[in-house]
């Protein structure tokens, strides 16, 4: 197939699509994994309800990861190989975690009652493993796969930071999808998650420019810094606003229970834009840019045609599923 747009733009478009997939994954499966980790703090019926709140969604949410990694694989094949061989062990930990988490939904509902606690451990442990591995990989990626002690410590900071972020968005999801005592507990979890996330984002934002001269130059020079200032400022305003919102006594009508979730999603998006700006146009920091790594324009064109038609449809029926399962979570039943 002949490329129908300037080959210069194809890698840019695919970098954008890949970024969008990963951002959607981090927000959507982020709340799943956050709920998974938080379910360690609940028991019995409460835990069942937490699992039920994400039951109809987790599979589709996880598919954004497959699309993101798939776009990396198909659009930037060389980068895909380099990144994944560098991240061999954390990728394994993440996959093992996603396996243990994903199968637990079904097994915990179907196994003999005396085995259910094993699948609960698989659910909680899997969520934790996947989260920490993803955070670790994010850190390793930011530093260009540096293996020094300082870099490893940074990766651990990123792992803890992403765990805080997922707990935060997971708690916000529960505020939106639950009521009563569980919702009140979720508000407390969200408050803790909020401060931990804010601290982690601030720490990563401060340490990254110190560790990478290139990122330092991209942010702290005129006139860029003026154009970029809205990102940290909006993040700070959002954090403070959410903190105030979460500390108010509970409203009776519950009509605003979606606000923390929307706020958390926006915070994630802002953090993501910051990271994306730091790297563009590199797909592997300081080594390989998106034009060097791109697949042939013919191959990209044929994928783009499908994506343009299919992506809106996917977004449409994903929204439909969220609408069908709108409102407060109930215990799931097949019939």
């Amino acid at each position: 197939m002949e490329p129908f747009i300037d080959p210069f733009w194809l890698p840019v478009i695919f970098a954008g699509l890949m970024g969008l997939s990963i951002l959607l994954y981090v927000i959507l499966d982020g709340y799943d994994l956050g709920v998974g980790m938080l379910s360690a703090l609940a028991r019995g019926e409460e835990r069942d309800l937490m699992v039920a709140s994400i039951g109809p969604f987790w599979d589709a949410n996880e598919t954004w990861l497959v699309l993101g990694i798939g776009l990396l694989l198909v659009a930037f094949p060389i980068a895909h190989g380099i990144i994944l061989t560098q991240l061999y062990l954390p990728v394994f930990v993440m996959l093992a975690g996603l396996i243990l988490r994903g199968v637990a939904f079904e097994f915990r509902a179907k196994a003999e009652p005396n085995r259910k606690h094993l699948w609960d451990k698989s659910f909680i442990g899997g969520s934790l493993m996947a989260t920490l591995a993803q955070g670790y990989m994010l850190g390793a990626y930011i530093l260009g796969f540096d293996q020094s002690l300082g870099a490893v410590l940074f990766c651990l900071l990123a792992a803890a930071g992403l765990a805080a972020g997922y707990v935060f968005v997971g708690a916000c999801w529960l505020i939106y999808k639950t009521e009563g005592a569980l919702q009140e507990r979720s508000v407390r979890w969200a408050r803790l998650g909020l401060w931990a996330t804010a601290a982690a984002m601030a720490a990563v934002s401060l340490v990254t420019p110190l560790l990478s001269q290139r990122i330092f130059d991209r942010w702290f020079s005129l006139p860029e810094i003026i154009a970029l200032l809205p990102i940290p400022m909006m993040s700070a305003v959002l954090f403070i606003g959410l903190a105030i919102f979460l500390s108010r006594p509970k409203r009776h009508d519950d009509a605003l229970s979606w606000v923390p979730l929307a706020g958390a999603g926006t915070v994630f998006a802002l953090g993501f834009i910051g990271i994306a700006y730091s790297f563009y146009p590199y797909v592997i920091p300081d080594r390989l840019d998106i034009w060097q790594a791109a697949a042939s324009p013919e191959a990209l064109s044929i994928i783009l045609v499908g994506t343009v038609f299919v992506l809106p449809v996917i977004l449409g029926y994903s929204l439909l599923a969220h609408w069908i399962f709108r409102g407060k979570a109930t215990h799931l039943s097949y019939y």
């Binding site: 996880e62 497959v66 198909v74 895909h80 196994a111 697949a295 439909l320 019939y335």
Partner: protein, 465 residues
């Protein structure tokens, strides 16, 4: 082996991952359509027994689907972690095919699975039926794309090489490459047979335990009919697939037949111990002219031998044995399904002797064994190539050290063994509980008495009038 070889370890790891993965799509591809058939049968007849069958098998479907999803994600990462050369060299073809699988199939099945499983009481009946159709179509579409890619790796077409990198020149030829129609049909029917024997085996198990509801009998009868109809078609399609392989990958067929010399009047070898060192078979038992007859439809037909491909043919023993296991199970399926059908056609379940039901229980997972054996034949049979004539498996290997691969391999195997055991155990536990009770149980039982269906069960499924 004194030293760990990352090549062998990576191959074993990929084989372990893909073997584990394929078990579950093999079930969900056909089970989705079977569930749809159960549901439509209920919509049409109003007979609660069909709904019993649906309610039981939708649980197995949900479990299998989750296992398939999580093991499938592993696959998409392993291309990069262990075989980066694959995407670097043939990414321009493999990439778009995989992308279309994710875009058209994965999201479709993932989103509508939620509605199919948990939406029964939230959406009108027709939407629930539509969701079931879309999930079944999604699994089948996913099989289509991945088999297009796999077939292209066996019989590449519609491309050119520029600086060692593959570029597509004709997408129609890429998609409808020579082996695709045969491989796709063969796999879809294999899925149907696997599901038929699984349903028959588990239903026989329930029947033997005294769980003799009409739903169990209907499921077993449907499964036997399905198996009896599909197995002759599968034998025919398998034969056509073999002829196609003979045309495009003769070395693979030579290994399947255990034939060393290119010659006429080649026997159909039933048993032998192939010896690659001595390049001959030991203890060979064969039917004279059999292979020539099957492959060339002529007792004097010349069948290619392995000695024409010295150094370039696949390892003989696994291909030879894999083929015999697959065909042997196929023949057993033919005998058992037809005999069972003959026994129950008039008298129903009472006509089936106890030993036959026990045999069906024993064959519940026989489809898995045959499917895996068949895949080993075709995948090992492609070696030493990863993409025939374009890229060898060795050239696609990544730089990860052997120790790391060995570590992850052991951990993967441990996880897979545990999950496989849990999966089979839970299916038999579900069968023991026989919880297709007409009273709907919540998926997550509540300690305080549980929650019944919000509206009468029959109502949402009653034929719309």
């Amino acid at each position: 082996m004194s030293e760990l070889d990352p090549f062998i370890l990576s191959r074993i790891q990929f084989a372990a991952n893909i073997s584990f993965h394929i078990l579950f799509p093999t079930i969900t591809i056909a089970l989705g359509w079977v569930l749809l058939a159960f549901k439509l049968a209920f919509n049409r007849t109003g007979n609660e027994a069909w709904m019993d069958a649906y309610r039981f098998w939708v649980k197995v479907f949900a479990l299998s689907f989750a296992m398939g999803v999580v093991s499938g994600i592993t696959m998409s990462f392993q291309f990069g972690t262990n075989w980066p050369g694959f995407m670097e060299r043939v990414g321009n073809i493999a990439g778009p095919l995989l992308a279309y699988e994710v875009l058209t199939a994965f999201f479709l099945e993932a989103v509508f699975l939620g509605i199919m499983l948990f939406g029964f009481r939230r959406v009108p009946n027709w939407v629930h039926t539509l969701a079931t159709v879309l999930v079944a179509a999604g699994t089948t579409l996913s099989a289509f794309w991945i088999l297009v890619l796999n077939s292209w790796m066996h019989t590449p077409a519609g491309f050119e090489l520029r600086d060692g990198v593959v570029h597509a020149t004709n997408w129609a030829q890429v998609i409808f490459n020579p082996s695709m129609p045969y491989r796709l049909t063969h796999m879809l029917i294999a899925s149907g047979l696997t599901v038929a024997f699984l349903i028959a085996g588990i239903s026989a198990y329930r029947w033997l335990r005294g769980d003799r509801g009409d739903g169990v009998a209907k499921a077993l009868r449907s499964a036997i009919a399905m198996a009896a109809l599909l197995i002759p078609v599968q034998i025919l399609v398998g034969d056509l697939h073999g002829l196609n392989t003979l045309e495009h990958q003769p070395a693979k067929v030579a290994a399947m037949e255990g034939n060393w010399e290119t010659r006429p009047n080649v026997p159909l070898v039933l048993f032998a111990i192939p010896d690659e060192e001595a390049r001959t078979n030991h203890l060979e038992i064969g039917i004279p002219n059999g292979a020539s007859l099957i492959l060339k439809h002529d007792p004097n037909g010349v069948v290619p031998g392995l000695n024409d491909f010295v150094g370039e043919h696949p390892p003989v023993a696994p291909v030879f044995w894999g083929f015999r296991v697959m065909v042997g199970i196929g023949m057993l399926m033919l005998l058992v399904s037809w005999f069972t059908w003959w026994k129950i056609r008039r008298k129903g379940m009472e006509g089936a002797p106890r030993w036959l039901l026990q045999l069906l229980v024993g064959m519940a997972f026989s489809g898995w064994v045959a499917t895996l054996a068949g895949w080993y034949v075709t995948e090992i049979g492609r070696q030493p190539w990863l993409v025939t004539g374009v890229l060898t498996t060795k050239d696609a290997l990544g730089p990860v050290p052997a120790g790391m691969v060995a570590t992850t391999l052991i951990l993967y195997l441990a996880i897979y063994a545990a999950l496989l055991a849990a999966y089979v155990l839970v299916i038999f536990q579900l069968a023991k509980r026989g919880d297709a009770a007409p009273q709907g149980k919540p998926m997550f039982p509540m300690p305080g008495g549980g929650e019944g269906p919000a509206r009468p069960l029959r109502e949402p499924l009653a034929p719309a009038e």
